[in-house]
């Protein structure tokens, strides 16, 4: 999998097949990392999400798919409470991370976000150097004290994000000078550097070209060894390629969820079938 950077597409298809082949069996063994029960979200008077209940398996990739405005990103942002930053947003129901209610008033949002990292739709590196971008999270959480420690964390995070070899000679140049795909991997490295358990990805490839997308997808597949990954995507092919579990959202409702291969080959709900066969969305 490490070879073949020149033809990422050619290489990705067999890999994705392998992932989905083992999907169901693999899922059965996984414990539940995040459990959502009857989650509803309101923006002011408007309800954006209706009683969503879903289990997210540990160390696997879960994909949220659905047409625009279906509530999948809204739900994703509930899991690290990023909806708190939106004026007038209210969340009902319960979301547990390792059995702990994340909306419990005694829970510290800062600590939660350190455990649940996030990668955004558009690459958003800070206007700082590559090194400082990655070191930012560990610094604010007091994880690094010396320069050597910082160096170690930055290098290992960049390695895990598959970016180190490309940027090792220019760690102190601005992160905004990288290409789109590199910026997105920098953002993944930045998230990894804090040592999260769960990584949320909100359409991480929608601003990238196909080659950069393939590289990120490959990276996601590697990362699931160590992290629980939830990815929101518009692309059904992407969901089929990278995820083991898929949840289909429509008009703020969770319509169907299950092992990816089952959702794509034998969906139960008519709406799911219509969406994956391209009849709407």
């Amino acid at each position: 999998m490490a070879s073949g950077m020149n033809f990422p597409h050619a290489e990705l298809t067999p890999n994705a097949e392998q992932a989905t082949d083992h999907g169901a069996a693999e899922l059965a063994q996984r414990s539940v990392r995040v459990r959502a029960s009857d989650v509803s979200v309101f923006y002011g008077a408007k309800q954006a999400l209706f009683d969503v209940s879903v289990d997210i398996p540990d160390r696997a990739v879960t994909a949220f798919i659905g047409p625009s405005g279906c509530g999948k990103s809204t739900f994703l942002r509930c899991i690290n409470r990023m909806n708190d930053t939106i004026e007038g947003a209210r969340v009902g129901g319960k979301i547990e991370l390792d059995g702990e209610d994340i909306y419990d008033p005694s829970l510290d949002v800062v600590e939660l976000r350190a455990r649940v990292g996030m990668v955004f739709q558009k690459p958003n590196p800070f206007p700082k150097s590559i090194f400082e971008n990655v070191a930012y999270g560990p610094r604010i959480h007091g994880l690094i004290r010396t320069k050597a420690e910082a160096e170690e964390v930055v290098v290992s995070s960049l390695r895990k994000a598959g970016l180190f070899n490309e940027v090792k000679d220019r760690l102190h140049e601005p992160g905004t000078g990288l290409s789109g795909g590199q910026q997105q991997r920098l953002c993944i490295a930045r998230a990894i550097a804090v040592g999260p358990e769960v990584i949320l990805m909100d359409e991480p490839c929608s601003a990238l070209d196909p080659i950069a997308t393939a590289i990120i997808e490959e990276l996601i597949d590697e990362l699931r060894e160590n992290y629980t990954i939830i990815i929101v995507t518009h692309s059904m092919q992407q969901a089929a390629r990278v995820s083991q579990k898929t949840a289909f959202f429509h008009l703020g409702n969770l319509v169907e969820e299950g092992p990816t291969d089952k959702i794509f080959t034998n969906p139960e709900d008519k709406r799911t079938q219509d969406y994956i066969t391209g009849r709407f969305g």
Binding site: K122, I140, A191
Partner: protein, 458 residues
Amino acid sequence: MNTLIITALILAFLGIAYQTGSSRSRALAGTSGRRLHSRPSYHGSAIAIWTLVPLLLLLGAWALLDSYVIRTFITWYLPESLVAEGGNALRASIARVEALATGYGVVGEVQEFERTAAQAVGRFQTTAFLIVVAAATTLAALGLFYARKRITPQFRARNEVEGAVRILLLACSVVAILTTFGIVASLLTEAMRFFSFVNPLDFFFGTVWNPRFSTTGAGGGGEYGLIPLLWGTIQITIIAILTAVPIGLMAAVYLSQYAKPRVRSVVKPLIEVLAGIPTIVYGFFALVTVGPFLASFGDAIGVDIRATSALTAGIVMGVMIIPFISSLSDDIIRQVPTAMRDGSLGLGATKSETIRRVILPAALPGIVGAILLAVSRAIGETMIVVLAAGNSPVLRFNPFEPTSTITVSIVNQLTGDSDFAGPQSLVAFALGLTLFVLTLVLNVGALYIVRRFREQYD
């Protein structure tokens, strides 16, 4: 009367020309059956431009030459001895004739030659006016006919009008630039005259400011050292910035990051009210309220603070420029993309960490630009300092003592009886020039920084 006739003339030509153009082009399109390249309104506008521009140019030229021609005309009627003598007597006599001609009457006995001159001037003005109006009408009519002849269906009137609009816009910006050059030129020439009295080295590096009164001898005496004034200006500006930057910046952070939209919509205009208060009001606020307060506060903690001091003026000036800093910084901070903020919050940073370590650094160049604009405002400020700084142009380093600034000294040198012949009043131009260069450098710096900031997220 004259203005009325000219206005009527212009309006009449405007209407006729526009109508001619649009109806002529319509008629042509009808008979030839070809599609017009430009809509009739453009043809109308094109003719109107060809008609009015020569008309207005001629009238403008007359308005410029008018007074010169009439003065020359008057001198033909004045006694030769008076003309040969020149100077103030000649000027006074011409003014008397002009006053007589307009029918205002003059002080003292009207002499015979003055009366004949005035009558001649009256006749001359009427004739000249008629000639000018006739010439203008002819010119406008020529323009109209020329432009009318050019109309064909494929004539590109639209492009021509667009070109004219471009020239008009260009001319307006040239006016603004030329005004600046004019101000600089007048400052420079007068400053040069000042430097013919006082050595520039003594001015720029002198440490004593004591211009004396012009009555103590023309052009004599007086020391014109800039340093005490420059230092006073810098001192007060620094105090103002120390007051305004922390308050303004924190207000901006509050407005942009913490305030709910409803609070923001009330608080921001309220802060901006500060910018609308006339500076003279700030001045007596400083004099009556802040100064005595600071003095008694100084008494309480055992420091000698004068009521009128650099501190008083600086603090009040700082309050005045708070809205500049807070409003501009607020706008700049809000331009930092939300993605940047979300990225930091998503990593588990708190709100204040995000502001301190991501948002403010990203907005910093813009904020520096805002501060520099506020500084140049503070440097040019006059009224507050006139009232609150104690007007004591002596080089002192204690901010609790009275001081004076460049602007205040300009006011002092130019108010009262000044004849612009001696260094006492001419020094104002040298001071003004210094001030201009100072603020120009700051403004250019601010613009440069703001421009660099813009490139960051594109």
